[in-house]
Symmetry: C2
Subunit: 114 residues, 2 copies
């Protein structure tokens, strides 16, 4: 797999079902959904893992969370609730090394979270 | 339960095992840990849910993620990996209405995440 599959999605070099976009953030449906709503929210700038976030990149994390809330609202899950998850490293399940926030909703979400 | 149990932890009105603090972020061990490392990272400012994050609050989300990375590093999980999770609303499991990022590490973390 490409080191950064998601940059190809941002550049429309490979297809994805994009449901949100602004200057800094993009969101598209997960191709292997784990819930009725399962979307990946990514920054357009390349950030490899959570370990690599710099202070200059702080705000884009908030933008990703606000995009998740906006998508959850648009899809009818604002009040029912939703979960956001980010994995760091292969043991936690990170398979693409460009940070991505999983947004899941539409079913009971158990605890622990994996 | 208090509307904002976590403000009481910030003010040291109730005890918690605090392991990270700066001017804007606090982190302490979850009292019901779901992994060898299970920490809650919170903003000191009150934000009720993900739905309530304003653009002015964007940067504190990044600070919370960098605090999570710093804690994971200090606890020896930087390279092995870790997962961060935030719940929004009761159906997703949010029980305290002050946003908190769960940081989990130290075991295999399955998929789906709950």
């Amino acid at each position: 797999m490409s080191e950064d599959l998601f940059l190809k999605i941002i550049k429309r070099e490979i297809p994805a079902e994009i449901i949100f976009e602004n200057d800094r953030v993009l969101a598209f449906r997960d191709i292997n959904p784990q819930a009725p709503l399962h979307v990946l929210v990514i920054p357009k700038q390349h950030i490899r893992t959570i370990n690599d976030i710099t202070p200059e990149q702080d705000a884009v994390l908030g933008e990703m969370f606000r995009a998740a809330a906006q998508i959850a609202t648009a899809e009818g899950y604002r009040d029912e609730g939703y979960r956001v998850v980010m994995n760091c490293g292969e043991r936690a399940g990170q398979s693409v090394f460009h940070i991505h926030l999983h947004l899941l909703a539409g079913r009971d979400l158990g605890w622990p979270p994996g």
